[in-house]
């Protein structure tokens, strides 16, 4: 019986350490997904959370100011706009341009702008848009995609 206790103890220790590491890893890197309207509705006490917010880049809104990049993303369903200031180190992804679906990762500032430390962008037309779904910018000429 003694050896089973040993195995049990060892396994418990290993799993315990891993569980603790996992929990602290989650706490360190957790990021909330919010839509623009949800973000604007947050009480001020929760504004300091790290948030990922997604929206379509408003055409013509991308401005560069030194190393920072300013642009506006919009949530079509609720007609909400959010101005984002990107201050990250990496150049913006290739897929980031007008109308692209962009995800900004950062924190809300008291002045109502969103400071992003990372931007990911999904080019609207590539890797296939939703069949017949909205947000498709580059339709193949005059043709509608086959509805599924």
């Amino acid at each position: 019986m003694k050896k089973y206790w040993r195995f049990g103890a060892l396994i418990t220790i290993i799993l315990g350490i891993l569980g603790w590491l996992a929990a602290s890893g989650i706490n360190e890197s957790k990021t909330y997904y919010k839509t623009i309207s949800e973000l604007k509705g947050l009480p001020s006490s929760e504004l300091s959370k790290r948030v990922r917010v997604t929206g379509d880049v408003l055409p013509g809104s991308i401005q560069r100011a030194g190393t920072a990049v300013k642009f506006t993303i919009c949530e079509k369903e609720h007609n909400q706009l959010l101005s984002v200031v990107y201050t990250g180190r990496d150049p913006l992804p290739d897929t980031f341009r007008d109308n692209a679906q962009a995800m900004a990762d950062g924190r809300m500032q008291p002045d109502g702008t969103f400071h992003a430390s990372a931007i990911a962008a999904k080019c609207p037309s590539k890797y296939e848009a939703k069949p017949g779904g909205g947000g498709k910018v580059q339709k193949p000429l005059n043709i509608n995609p086959p509805s599924a």
């Binding site: 590491l21 150049p91 848009a129 043709i143």
Partner: protein, 671 residues
């Protein structure tokens, strides 16, 4: 012709239903002719899916843009290789590839086992065909590849297609999906045999012996696929890394982890008759994770930068998974009596226990990766808030697990079966430990204080020494007897027991890869906006942009920076990072320039001309030590896997306790 393709898929669907029902009815009512005809139907399915795939490929290579799929994933200016690769460039085509590979594997299984396992085979065929039916349903009704673009009343071709996603126009990416699929789909075969053996209440390990090679080959394909994906990310995506814990990457890694655990734990069953239930669980888990991975990448279940579109296809996958998981769980529970362990664990210090902990750690890692990947969805379901976890979570859990596994890689093969004493352990590990401590001391003196990196390098040396010692011991014994030189003796040694020494080679490759991963602790990078002609410096490199040139061809327009690199003041050559804008998709893409050396890579990404200051170029520079070790390590793993597949010259009789009547009596008495 597109009608023929669609018809071929439909017929294949009907035929695979026939093959499924035929084998089950055949075995339940004991009608051998039905079983035989079901097996022939499998070959029929293969022929039909091949025809459908052939037609799709024909359309792609001849640029027939009447087809929606061709128009969306190919264009005229693409090289033929990428036109062909468009087969798996989109949802519909890649699902067809899945079906096709499965039909190929099923045919090979039917052919190679035509005279073996007559009792089990109909069930194997049934399991394979059930999966085939599922994928053919997707091909025929949910994501049909032969949609014709109808404009008005007639069928009209578009002048040109949109082209394959530029990011995918890279040789590694062209072969990455088929490799990964070969690995994913291939694991269905061991699973099918496992289920066949459960259903027919087989006592022995016939399924393990039959599928040992399959598991190894498909594991090799999975490894190749995952590494190709990492290599592609490194060489194409331009962020200087090869692994970002993106859901899609995780999806490809998950079955690999459980497959690795399976490859290790089957040894326990083969040699000791232990862990039988566990192996069933592992082979099923791997199979489900393969399906789950396909589901993750295709359904938009978790958001990922490079996932396919959101679509209703996810419900089909969930349904299929729910049914097959519950069926498997019920089956395993009902057969628990046939899966009794023949021996028991005797000591914490034993080979058995090292396998046990190897499996525990691999599974913990798989669970952590799975948890982190689906965490946004789980948190949304539980708390209503979508929360995502990033790379820090994955690294925090997986780095210690990786290091423990590395340690086990060195300890496991040297520790005795059943039980080992501290004395023998001290003897076996004296030299590896001395080398490990020496390495850590030297590195610390050289100024490396990164805790994990020190441990990792130390362990790499530890394991390397154990492996070298193993080869040395065996080879010098042979050399002494045959008077051959040591190298020849080592080859002879490997040939005598290919699985053991091939396995050591695989371990060696993994160690090289770990060394490569550890290099990431010393990465340096900078992003600078510099004028043409100016210099920037990073680590011991200096870079000077000499000029920017531009041009265009049918497929894309390009802008290229000519960068002269100096290392410690001495010129080391020119690098040409490039930026392309593809004509059809208007998508800009970076073509990075990498100076690859074994000790470190110099990695340049030309991010375009500055928009604020004229004549300035935006340059991202990364210095990544040891990355090449990862790719080198892969080749060693590959070579080691091939070695394992070579039949051993000497058939070793396992020191295995066979099941005998007395033992069985005991267990019944114990009840």
């Amino acid at each position: 012709m597109e009608v023929l393709g669609a018809l071929a898929i439909l017929f294949a669907f009907c035929l695979s239903i026939y093959a499924f029902t035929g084998s089950i009815v055949g075995i339940v009512w004991k009608r051998p002719y039905l079983q035989k005809s079901a097996e022939r139907a499998v070959i029929g399915v293969f022929t039909l899916v091949t025809i459908a795939s052939g037609i799709l490929v024909y359309f792609l290579t001849t640029s027939d843009f009447r087809l929606a799929y061709v128009a969306a994933h190919s264009n005229r200016a693409m090289p033929v290789m990428y036109k062909f690769a468009s087969w798996w460039g989109g949802q519909e085509g890649s699902l067809l590839l899945w079906s096709w590979l499965l039909s190929v594997y099923s045919t090979v299984v039917v052919w190679t086992n035509r005279k073996r396992h007559t009792g089990m085979m109909p069930w194997v065929v049934a399991v394979l065909q059930l999966t085939q039916i599922f994928f053919l349903v997707l091909n025929a009704f949910v994501e049909p590849p032969f949609h014709v673009l109808a404009v008005g009343r007639g069928v009209q071709a578009m002048p040109d297609g949109q082209g394959l996603n530029p990011l995918l126009q890279y040789w590694m990416m062209a072969i990455h999906p088929p490799m990964l699929y070969l690995g994913y789909v291939g694991f269905i075969v061991p699973f099918a045999f496992a289920m066949g053996s459960l259903i027919t209440k087989q006592k022995g390990d016939a399924w393990i012996h039959t599928t040992r090679r399959w598991s190894l080959i498909t594991w090799g394909f999975q490894t190749t696929g995952v590494i190709l994906g990492a290599g592609w990310a490194y060489a194409v995506l331009g962020w200087g890394g090869y692994w970002g814990w993106d859901p899609v990457e995780n999806a490809s890694l998950l079955p690999w982890i459980t497959a690795t655990a399976f490859l290790h734990s089957v040894m326990m069953q083969e040699k000791k008759g232990m862990m039988k239930v566990w192996n069933m669980v592992l082979v099923s888990t791997t199979y489900f994770l393969c399906i789950f991975g396909t589901f993750l990448t295709r359904s938009g279940f978790v958001s990922s930068v490079h996932a396919f579109a959101e679509s209703s296809i996810g419900y089909w996958f969930l349904g299929f998974l729910a049914i097959s998981v519950s069926a498997t769980v019920i089956l395993i529970f009902r057969r628990l009596d046939y899966l009794k362990s023949e021996t028991k664990l005797e000591s914490v210090l034993s080979r058995e226990s090292s396998f046990l902990f190897n499996n525990l750690l691999l599974l913990a890692s798989a669970f952590a990766v799975l948890w982190g990947t689906v965490f946004p969805r789980i948190s949304e379901m539980v708390t209503g808030e979508k929360i995502t976890v990033g790379a820090p979570f994955f690294n925090k859990v997986n780095v210690p697990i990786g290091l423990c596994l590395l340690l086990l890689t060195g300890v496991g093969p040297l520790i005795a079966w059943r039980r080992s004493s501290w004395e023998s352990l001290k003897k076996a590990f004296r030299w590896p430990t001395i080398f490990m401590v020496a390495t850590i001391a030297v590195l610390a003196v050289a100024g490396i204080y990164h805790f994990y990196a020190l441990i990792s390098f130390g362990l790499c040396v530890f394991v390397t020494v154990t492996i070298v010692m193993e080869f040395w011991k065996g080879a010098s014994a042979i050399a002494a007897r045959t008077k051959a030189n040591l190298v020849m003796a080592a080859v002879e040694l490997t040939h005598r027991n290919t699985r053991r020494y091939g396995g050591y080679l695989v371990h060696m490759g993994i160690i090289l890869m770990f060394a490569g991963f550890t290099g990431a602790a010393f990465n340096k990078d900078t992003t600078q906006d510099i004028k043409v002609g100016d210099k920037l410096s990073i680590a011991h490199y200096e870079l000077q942009i000499r000029e920017i040139t531009s041009g265009s061809n049918d497929n894309y327009t390009w802008q290229r920076a000519s960068v002269a690199a100096f290392r410690d003041g001495a010129p080391v050559g020119m690098l040409f990072p490039e930026r392309r804008v593809y004509v059809m998709s208007q998508q800009p893409t970076s073509i990075v320039a990498i100076r690859r050396r074994l000790n470190e890579d110099l990695y340049l990404n030309f991010a375009g001309m500055s928009e604020t200051e004229a004549g300035h170029a935006l340059l991202q520079v990364y210095v990544n030590p040891l990355v090449s070790c990862i790719w080198l390590g892969f080749w060693v793993v590959f070579f080691g896997t091939l070695t394992c597949l070579v039949p051993s010259k000497v058939k070793l009789a396992y020191a295995r306790t066979e099941v005998v009547g007395v033992y069985e009596k005991k267990t019944t008495l114990a009840k």
